[in-house]
């Protein structure tokens, strides 16, 4: 028996151990943004609906931390998170919305039905800003500090238990 002949077996055992370990790990499908900690890209979005103004980078550099909420009227989890956004707004949080691939009628209908916690809503028709933020799905929520720097990313809909956590993150960002 030459030890060299055991090399393939040793390599395979290493692989099997790794694969076995990874199979027991819960699969995390979230794609985290590389932009956390980075300043927001330059952008200016037209208004997505008549009764709220659009969003530009200047609105997010006014010294006050805000939530930037990526959503859409066609998105079902967005309905689920709507009441929690209202809770946050009632606690004095300013929420800026970006509507992804949407149109004014649908946006207005959604807001009429599920409430409107937004101070501004920009329309991102081709997901351009969404991609630049490093967001890969709807809904996602970013904590932006007063200087326009992304401090935190929340993937998926905001649940009730996430509300204190987001308030905490906003406080850390200088609210």
């Amino acid at each position: 028996m030459r030890p060299a002949y055991f090399i393939p077996l040793a390599l395979f055992v290493a692989f099997a151990a790794l694969a076995g370990f990874m199979l027991t790990q819960p699969k995390d499908q979230f794609v985290e943004s590389q932009m956390v900690g980075e300043p927001l890209p330059e952008f200016a979005l037209r208004a997505a609906t008549d009764n709220r103004p659009g969003v530009s980078i200047k609105d997010l550099r006014d010294g006050k931390p805000k939530l930037l909420n990526i959503w859409a009227s066609w998105c079902v989890p967005c309905i689920a998170e709507a009441p929690h956004l209202e809770t946050l707004q009632a606690r004095g949080v300013e929420i800026v919305g970006v509507a992804i691939r949407d149109n004014p009628q649908n946006v207005a209908a959604f807001l009429a039905k599920h409430g409107n916690p937004y101070s501004r809503i920009g329309a991102d028709d081709i997901s351009a800003i969404q991609l630049e933020l490093g967001s890969s799905g709807v809904p996602e929520t970013f904590v932006i500090d007063g200087q326009g720097i992304i401090r935190h990313q929340h993937i998926g809909d905001i649940r009730e238990r996430d509300v204190p956590m987001l308030l905490q993150k906003l406080a850390e960002a200088g609210a």
Partner: protein, 672 residues
């Protein structure tokens, strides 16, 4: 009834696999030179098992054909209103059905081996069939325990769920079975290698038996990869033909191992060298097939191919992997030392060149394997990475370039020992071709290094492929040599296509309003209109593009941006225009604002890809070369068998004559 017949056939086949394994293994207990009575059972068990497994698959096919909605698999994957062809292909368009197809092909090739193969010593054959049975048992158990395709619903469904619209494509209907036949063909090579290793029969005779199986599997893998690459190219609408995605790599790795195995088994058959190495490759090739199945089906790796994944199935598959790969590698480690060293040869010989290319192929295999598994490794430490072309292309090229050079020279060398000086004039010609191509390309413009080298190598290799024919009467050249010539030329053609695509592709991304015109590589493209259209289960925006080159009647291309609603999915339907010197590839994207006059603008993406089709022409040529090689080998073998039979017949006749006349010694020897 149909589903129950299929289910019963599957259980019976599994039982016969046990019989095949046990009788094959017990037959090995007999002392050397004697045939054990147990050996009688293995062959019939394999043959009947093949019939039963095929019966089970046929029953499932029938259930899909008549859309039997009381069968769970049919109800969840089919629909009564689907076109008949896609009802049938839906049989393997899902996990259970495709595993049943895998097992049926496995049993069929095992049955064919047991029925037709009579050249090996009976002991080796018993061991081979025992291994084949052992492999089959695992997959039967996997099917029957965790993926029963024949499960009934307590109450028949009213209507089926349907098949993912993306899978309703003729290319994808044919591509998986082709790959499966390739994967499973390698299982026979694996069983033969283990049989020869266990019974210490690693010799040219064994290699000759193994060769057609390796060649056959390799032909199917080549076709499967070629078809898969073209499917990804036109269906995904990304303009690329290879993405180094884990699932693509899973099909490439067995191919690389099979390519190396095919060459080393030829050396073993012809020269009795590379014994240990051939066995090793036989194990690796099938291991790569199983590893591919595991990576694809278990979901440990994230891939653009979203297969239905299930961790429990992953665990079972990993168990099978550990059993078969771990087991065979253990036997290899224990036994490889007992394989006698084969015949020696010098570095500058045909064997030397083949060994060099075997090592290069294995190195590329290692590069691909490492790149595929690396994300799995880093994820264990909570770091997400994605490995792509910036790693695979240069790392692969480091080994591929020397391989192509030796591939051009190797077939010109003699077996055992040769001098490069003997073939010096030919090498000078090849070197000159490569240099002229490089000079020409560099003169034309500034192109990346790898495609330029690829073009030079393709030129030299294309000529070198035909050099083994020089000085021979073409009608006397053996069919197998033609096979090699064509396959090597196919590699040159494919390499030419890849290099051209890499160097000369022109791309244009523009926002165009209706009536607007774009120019690319001598083509004029006018966007005539963008209109909504709809199909049975999708709506789409369809662009009408009028394209022409150098005047003349414009040709209409209609790329679409489709939205399927069940399940909700957006796809790009590219429009291709094929010319002898390349393809025009157009994709329509999203709306992109309005132009100054208020007209709606659209994102239009166009590529001109010179000679890109040569990639797949080359793939088909390579596969065709493989077919010729099989035909050639079988021809020679049949001829030799017929000659042996006639010789035997004559000798018996003579012996009888001798007995009758009582003076057999006096007869003249027949000239043979």
């Amino acid at each position: 009834m149909i589903a129950e017949i299929g289910h019963a056939a599957l259980w019976l086949a599994a039982a016969l696999a046990v019989l095949q394994m046990v009788s094959g293994a017990l037959a090995l207990q007999a002392p050397e030179g004697q045939v054990s009575p147990f050996a009688l059972y293995a062959r019939p068990a394999a043959v009947v098992q093949a019939l039963l497994a095929v019966l089970a698959f046929t029953m499932l096919l029938y259930a899909f054909a008549i859309t039997d909605l009381s069968v769970k698999l049919v109800a969840t994957n089919s629909h009564s209103m689907k076109p008949f062809l896609y009802k049938l292909t839906g049989t393997w368009g899902n996990h259970e059905g495709s595993m049943l197809l895998w097992v049926a092909v496995l049993a069929l090739s095992g049955g064919l081996l047991a029925y037709a193969e009579r050249r090996l010593p009976e002991r080796t054959m018993s061991a081979t069939l025992a291994v084949q049975g052992f492999v089959a048992i695992g997959f039967y158990a996997f099917l029957l325990i965790s993926s029963n395709p024949f499960e009934r619903l307590p109450v028949p469904a009213l209507e089926g769920v349907g098949l993912n619209p993306l899978l309703q494509d003729i290319g994808l209907a044919v591509h998986p079975p082709t790959l499966y036949v390739g994967y499973v063909g390698l299982s026979v090579a694996f069983s033969l290698a283990m049989g020869a290793l266990i019974t210490r029969q690693v010799n040219p005779n064994f290699a000759k038996v193994m060769r057609p199986w390796v060649l056959g599997a390799w032909v199917f893998l080549t076709l499967g990869i070629t078809a898969g690459s073209y499917w990804a190219y036109y269906e995904l609408g990304w303009g690329g033909w290879w993405f180094w995605d884990p699932v693509e790599n899973a099909s490439l790795m067995p191919w690389l191992a099979a390519t190396a195995l095919m060459h080393s088994v030829s050396v073993l058959a012809a020269r009795d060298a590379l014994r240990t190495w051939t066995i090793m490759l036989g194990v690796v090739a099938f291991s790569m097939s199983m590893l591919g199945t595991f990576l694809v089906r278990s979901g440990v790796l994230t891939s653009v191919h979203a297969f239905a994944v299930d961790p429990e199935r992953g665990t079972l598959l990993l168990f099978l992997l550990a059993l078969y790969i771990g087991g065979s590698l253990t036997i290899f480690a224990m036994r490889a030392g007992s394989i006698a060293e084969g015949k020696r040869f010098t570095a500058t010989s045909r064997e030397g060149a083949l060994v060099f290319n075997n090592v290069m192929l294995s190195a590329i295999l290692a590069i691909v394997l490492l790149g595929t598994l690396y994300p799995l490794l880093t994820e264990a430490f909570d770091v997400r990475v994605s490995v792509g072309p910036p790693y695979f292309n240069p790392a692969g090229a480091v080994f591929a370039i020397p391989m192509f050079i030796v591939m051009a020279v190797g077939p010109l060398l003699r077996w055992k020992d040769d001098k490069l000086a003997r073939v010096q004039p030919l090498l000078a010609v090849l070197g000159a071709i490569a240099l002229v191509v490089i000079a020409l390309v560099v003169f034309l413009g500034d192109y990346p290094l790898l495609p330029v080298l690829g073009l030079a190598l393709a030129g030299a290799l294309g000529v070198a492929a035909f050099m083994p024919l020089r000085g021979r009467k073409l009608n006397r050249v053996p069919t197998a040599v033609w096979g090699m010539v064509l396959a090597h030329f196919g590699v040159a053609v494919s390499l030419f296509g890849m290099a051209c695509e890499g160097a000369f592709t022109q791309e244009k991304l523009a926002a165009v309003s209706a009536g607007g015109t774009e120019e690319i590589a001598g083509w004029t493209i006018q966007l005539e209109s963008v209109d909504p259209v709809s199909g049975p289960n999708w709506t789409a925006l369809e662009a009408r593009l009028a394209v022409n080159r150098g005047g003349g009647e414009p040709i209409i291309l209609t790329p679409q941006a489709r939205n399927f609603w069940a399940p909700s999915q957006a796809t790009s339907e590219s429009a291709l225009l094929t010319r002898w010197d390349g393809q025009l590839y157009a994709v329509i994207g999203d709306a992109a604002g309005v132009d100054p006059s208020g007209e709606q603008r659209w994102q239009l993406r166009v590529w001109w890809k010179p000679f890109v089709t040569f990639i797949w022409y080359g793939g088909v040529l390579i596969a065709f070369g493989g077919v010729l090689a099989i035909v050639g080998r079988l021809q020679v073998d049949l001829k030799r068998r017929t000659a042996t039979r006639i010789g035997d017949q004559r000798r018996t006749d003579q012996a009888k004559l001798g007995e009758e006349s009582g003076e057999g010694q006096a007869l003249p020897e027949p000239a043979e």
